[in-house]
């Protein structure tokens, strides 16, 4: 794969894929990076709200497919290397897990990190009572008490989704809610939802798994016995990813004019941008603006294409890589007696997989089956586990989806 690009987009969510597509449609050689999978936050949503128009709703999967298909049709190259650092310059240098690459312009569209409460012992409870994905982990809390922490539209939607499953949902709002009157009405009407404003989570009680949270309100502190807590506060932007770019208190990158930053060849789109409206429609607009701005940044000051009217066209532009470029990690010396199961840990996925695996075990008279799983449903699979499976098993049956 090339290491020299006209435009590099860091992040494969809605903003990133839109920026990449717009730039590629303008004839630029574009690479889009996402260390996990295309789709960004959409991957963890059950329903899209206020899309394709305000008040509307849609399933995220179709949109992700469309975004990827349109980007690829425009000639965008997708990479799943992780971009760890961007050094501004002409060209910019990007440090990635696959080596260093250069780009004439860079669009930062990483989105925000998952929510966190900022409390000791929190990370150890991820997947053991702490989650940031109602769509992924909600069924694990069927009939149990949960708390949702936050103040925005996303918080409200996640609480409403959990209310379909949990025995009770306590929404802990650190200040006052910022969600819309329409969502406020739905929360009020929901049977099992209680909203506490001015509520701070000050402690986590756990014994291997979460058993409760300590909540401070104007009336003092109290224990809330919940088996699950879903924080949508403490999300932060990609400060430090790009040399010298200032950020706001939430570590989102500051821009000077729309998507432009203090660095002429670096642009920011989507939730990573300070002040961005966190709606799908605004993110699409942001991505398009960033893609156009990145293309414009490559043009010389007098306008027209780079190179004084002569443009060198890469003859491989838009051509799919040959097989040699496709990353394949075939297993070592395993034979057909070595079969394993790998579950994504979503509700009932493991049970489905084991049931299917038992049938195969009996059919092939296998002595046993290997087994591995993701730590939790909303996290990426561990690379070492994937490598171990590929090296030790001839076939691995994988559960994806739920």
């Amino acid at each position: 794969m090339s290491t020299e690009w006209e435009i590099a987009v860091v992040g494969g969510g809605v903003a990133g894929l839109t920026a990449a597509r717009v730039a590629a449609e303008a004839g630029r050689r574009v690479i889009a990076y996402d260390r996990l999978s295309p789709g960004g936050q959409l991957v963890n949503l059950t329903t899209l709200h206020d899309y394709p128009e305000p008040g509307g709703s849609a399933e995220p999967w179709a949109l992700i497919s469309e975004l990827v298909a349109r980007a690829e049709a425009a000639g965008v190259t997708m990479s799943f290397d992780e971009v760890t650092r961007v050094h501004a310059g002409a060209p910019a240098r990007l440090e990635t897990s696959g080596g260093e690459v250069t780009a004439g312009a860079v669009v930062i569209a990483t989105g925000l990190t998952n929510g966190r409460l900022g409390l000791p012992g929190e990370e150890a409870l991820v997947g053991r009572g702490l989650s940031t994905c109602a769509g992924c982990d909600g069924p694990l809390y069927r009939g149990k008490a949960v708390a949702v922490v936050g103040d925005d539209e996303w918080t409200a939607e996640e609480a409403l989704e959990l209310a379909e499953l949990a025995s009770s949902v306590t929404v802990l709002v650190p200040g006052t809610p910022r969600w819309s009157p329409e969502r406020d009405q739905r929360l009020t009407a929901a049977d099992r939802v209680e909203v506490l404003t001015g509520a701070m989570v000050t402690g986590l009680r756990a014994d291997g798994v979460l058993q409760g949270v300590t909540v401070r309100t104007g009336d003092g502190e109290r224990e809330l016995p919940v088996q699950g807590v879903f924080p949508y506060v403490g999300r932060s932007g990609p400060v430090g990813l790009v040399d010298g770019l200032p950020a706001d208190a939430e570590k989102r990158l500051l821009t000077e004019d729309g998507v432009r930053t203090a660095v002429p060849t670096v642009f920011v789109a989507g939730d990573a941008r300070a002040g961005a409206a966190q709606t799908l429609l605004s993110v699409v607009a942001d991505g398009a603006a960033a893609g156009q701005a990145a293309v414009a940044a490559l043009r010389p000051a007098g306008g027209g294409p780079a190179g004084g009217g002569l443009r060198i066209v890469d003859p491989t532009f838009g051509v799919l890589p040959d097989d040699a470029d496709v990353e394949v990690r075939a297993g070592g010396t395993a034979d057909w007696t070595q079969v394993a199961l790998f579950t994504n840990s979503k509700p009932n996925a493991t049970e489905l997989l084991r049931g299917v695996g038992e049938r195969l075990q009996a059919h092939w008279d296998l002595r046993d089956l290997g087994f591995a799983s993701k730590d939790n449903a909303s996290a990426a699979a561990d690379k070492d586990t994937i490598d171990w499976l590929s090296q030790n098993y001839k076939m691995v049956v994988v559960a994806v989806g739920d």
């Binding site: 999967w61 497919s65 298909a69 069924p139 979503k346 009932n348 049938r359 989806g401």
Partner: protein, 64 residues
């Protein structure tokens, strides 16, 4: 080889990711959802998916 058990709702996402990664996984599509089903409901889905997997697995082994 790594056959994927995927529920129908997630199929477009899996196909998009596979396309982006330039791979063509062997897919066994199970009607969505799986989460929240009781034992009997899940058993029916296991039966259907297992039948597909056995065929696919036999073919793959026989092709070598």
């Amino acid at each position: 080889m790594a056959p994927l058990l995927v529920t129908s709702t997630f199929l477009p996402l899996v196909e998009a990711q596979a396309k982006a990664r330039r791979v063509s996984p062997r897919l066994i599509v199970v009607p969505h959802p799986v989460g929240g089903l009781n034992e009997g409901e899940l058993a029916a889905k296991i039966e259907t998916a297992a039948a597909e997997l056995l065929t696919l697995a036999d073919e793959a082994r026989g092709a070598e």
